[in-house]
Symmetry: D2
Subunit: 337 residues, 4 copies
């Protein structure tokens, strides 16, 4: 159940309203949107008389029952979509934010060259893996803390906010200077990690698991929001199907559906989804056309020598060219890029 | 192995060249493109000295080994994409052809109203099911021959070429006036039917099976071409995955990949793929952006009363609005619509 | 809705009962089991007062509403399982019938040698493909009518009933001497073919499609029974999943569930499911243990030289050894083998 | 590359052999089986002359190149299968170990009643969830540390070793008295957790992820063994497919294949795989027949009131009856139960 509050209610009254529900044994999640504030009620709401609350509370504009299992991330809670802001960049309705960078941070020179070039081409956020989840224990596992330090340096040089993947909750302090913390596909249902990043005050980029349903992705986002952090960005990155010609199957219906079911920003990653460089540009254009709020795309200054996922990385010129194509289309899609 | 012939070789020399190979036990497929003519050699080509053939035949411009199992539909055979023409309409590179109409033809009035309206909005081809493949023997099975007759009438009234699904090879005569014969997803590997439509002199719309790989789709197209009919249009319509929120998962990577691997036109069907009306427009725009040559979209004059698949059909106003959005984007995609 | 009739009702009264319903616009399917006779009512049964029918008809023992979409194949219609008899062999509850033979019939010598040997080892029915559904038009397509003739000869020599796959309804006359007509996985939803074999008076072996749900398999069986032929044997043969180490994923839960949901016999095919010879024996034992009524297993006198699917075929000695293992287990499973 | 050592080589010589390789930049994994000891060499072994090593080392019986990515868990390393021993119970070749207990530990009384009864019926190990991975943050999350304490008490009372699922590496100390640490399906690729339990000196029960391939499961086991713990039990528990009638699709081909590809014990879980009580017994029998080394099955003293997964739990009488069926079959399968 969600209660949309009247505009400009004093904080004191909101606190009292929330306190009242918690006294009755409900949990609540306060959701402060740009246009209105909402209070989600979690628990057995079957006995709550919604109309009575609206009429008597003095601060509730209207209320709705939420039949879906996901509550706080539900579109019903915020008709205006959530906009997430990080280092001067907005992610959400009305913008198309491009995140770019290498699969793995390999050296200071590498990350700096890539950062400068993708920024010039129009990327707004720099990505780079420091801790890499690899199927084999014998594969390159990433540069670790040193990689994060290189990213931090690239951020300092270029001003680009940075995003990198966290592997477990003991690493949280290491990510103090990382602007957006990424939860990888394999960790989408690492519930303790979700609760831990729910305690942070920074955006979380939550990737869909390879075999996770759209509803499960929303439930994982709900874990983070229920733990206190409503800055969640959803990311579709391909699901596992019987098709073997592509690495995974990018599910663009999911992008469109997530935008309808939830108020959270939704982006997509054509690089991991396809695993094939020549598919990245056509898929990136489709991602924009289907209504996503942005894109995460792997780039490398020398894909042939990349320590990880070179076959799917664009080189810096290919990225520039893709950005030109996206900028051309952004106007028609009413998106700032 | 494919031999690209010199421009303007006399038919007599081509015949002799082909005859020579067949004498040696090979099968051949002659592929006449807009820019050049190619001869595909089928059989054990390991022993053929490609360079020697090029140097001595007198009519071969160059040759290539084709490592893929699909030969005649392979991109190597025609670098210029195939353009299929039907009733004044072109399908292929440079155009974005919209096929629209109801899941099932229900009555003369219904099909005529829909045909006229979608034509006005910009549809170039009319679709309508007469024989319907239904999971249950107790569901509406389509109007049958009578349905085809209604379609024919709508074609006569509007001038729109028509496409309808054939269920088995005994129906071929019934489809004499149908401009494009559709092979449905469940029949994609009905090989006898593929061979039968391979004997026709009209375009075949081949839908991808629910669990068919991209390569299997190309191999099914190869069946049709090998049987003598190179007018095949490939159609992605969603594959079966674990996700249940959508009916199927539209695989747009497949569209982009099919365009790279084959010279055949590729379209997609967002209606069957998603099964949800609100996803049709975003997916249609993504289908254009990813590089498809067209779209097949279900429309109905009264979706709430449709005998079949009402939940995924656009009403006529929604279709008109979608066409406006597509036309706006066609320019940027360098596509005539 | 199903009505279980009193024992020993005269045919005349049954006919009158059925006629009464058809007058009211319902379809009926008469199901004659070994222990009782049932009448399925198809149509809008919401308005039928079940109790009233039981009390007034004079011939109905009891009735039940069937909520599932599959009616005539529903377990509710026959609590005693269906037993299908062919050439002295029983398939169903209490027996474990082994069907064996090569993927493709290749020559008279081959099929005869295999037939004799597998019979000696305990196979009760001979399988052999004459018309082969192949992904590639350039692969061996089977011996066709000649292959059926070879099978017929092997049947004459050994007395084993034969099963072979039909590809389309124009072949029905060719299958006059084939004891069990197989519908392959790719044709499971070839509804016209299902209707056509529904007109035969012989058992149909219906294989589950690669991407077909358990419910869809039952609905396809329903097509055959609704068309007049209740001798349907269901066959699980693996479904398509993301796993690539095996050709398909054998779904043994489906076997157990089909036995609970339907009264039809259920067998399974470990050869096509796995595609790996070393998995055939362990899976065959699991198929028996999970409660299947039989097994279809590919054997070849010389797997290394097989024209089709050699990698998954047992040689004749491996088959003999498997049969020993199965016989040892049959007693404990209360199955005659 | 693996070197199988001669019998009874002194430890000193083994240490020297290993040291030699590490000096050259290779990693090594020492694998001490019941019948022979092996040394796995990890690194670029292309330049190693295998025959030369065998002839000159003085302690190597023979060597093999391992082409698979999984090395230490590879069947090549131990032709005799691994037997894992815990609290007097053996898991591996020649035994069929039944692990049973509730999805969640709910109270001391509950776990004690279940433990005593399943022990009497023949279960050898007690399972019980204390920390529960739940899709929704609002679902019961398990009794936590208190649940582990209840399990410990039940172990003390009954003598049954206990197994429970760990959620993250910060919990390792809490699991000091847990005999077997379970890695759940969602954590199968939580690589940091795998490395952490690789540091333990107790068996790890590793469940296959819902969308993880057989090879990925082996690679995750390799993480644990490479980190120093070779006591890994593999568990098949159903994969995610398009089928919705069962919760997941139990992949018994995987069980047979894992036994061929690896020397590790393999068990399966029919409860989570199917999600349906009536399928548990048939699948359990199939699991034994396919060659698994054991079974993990959920039981509850009152399934209708279970806080978690009641629909798939056997009651205690159903479990007793299943154990009778399994015991009857164990003799024929040459398995001690």
């Amino acid at each position: 159940m969600v209660f949309i509050l009247d505009p400009n209610v004093e904080q004191e009254k909101i606190d009292a309203f929330i306190h009242g529900w918690e006294q009755k044994g409900f949990s609540t999640i306060l959701s402060v949107g740009t246009e209105h504030t909402a209070v989600c009620l979690i628990g057995n709401t079957a006995t709550v008389d919604l109309d009575h609350v609206v009429q008597t509370s003095g601060i509730v504009s209207y209320g709705k029952r939420i039949t879906e299992q996901y509550k706080a991330v539900n579109r019903s809670v915020r008709e205006d979509s959530s906009i997430i802001r990080v280092g001067g960049v907005s992610i959400g309705e009305g913008t198309f934010t491009v995140i770019s960078g290498p699969c793995s941070v390999e050296s200071s020179e590498q990350i700096l060259e890539i950062a400068k070039t993708v920024k010039k081409s129009g990327a707004k956020i720099l990505r780079g893996g420091a801790f890499k989840p690899r199927t084999s224990p014998y594969s390159f596992q990433g540069k670790g803390a040193e990689g994060l330090e290189m990213l931090r340096m690239a951020k300092k040089e270029t001003g680009l906010p940075i995003v990198s993947e966290i592997m477990n909750q003991t690493q949280i302090d290491l990510f103090a200077d990382v602007d957006i913390v990424q939860i990888g596909a394999r960790n989408m249902q690492n519930f303790d990690l979700l609760k831990a990043v729910g305690g942070l005050k920074k955006p979380i980029l939550l990737k869909r698991g390879l075999a996770s349903s759209i509803e499960e992705l929303l439930m994982s986002a709900e874990y983070i929001v229920a733990a206190g952090n409503d800055q969640v960005i959803l990311c579709e990155r391909g699901i596992r199907t019987f098709e073997t010609m592509t690495r995974n199957t990018l599910d663009l219906s999911a992008v469109a559906l997530l935008k309808q079911k939830s108020h959270l920003p939704v982006i997509a990653d054509p690089s991991h989804a396809s695993g094939i460089r020549s598919l990245v540009a056509p898929l990136a254009k489709a991602i924009m056309a289907v209504g996503a709020d942005g894109l995460m795309v792997e780039t490398h200054n020398n894909p042939a020598q990349a320590l990880c996922d070179g076959a799917q990385s664009l080189d810096l010129e290919q990225f520039r060219s893709l950005m030109e194509e996206l900028k051309e289309r952004a106007t028609i899609e009413r998106k700032e890029i």
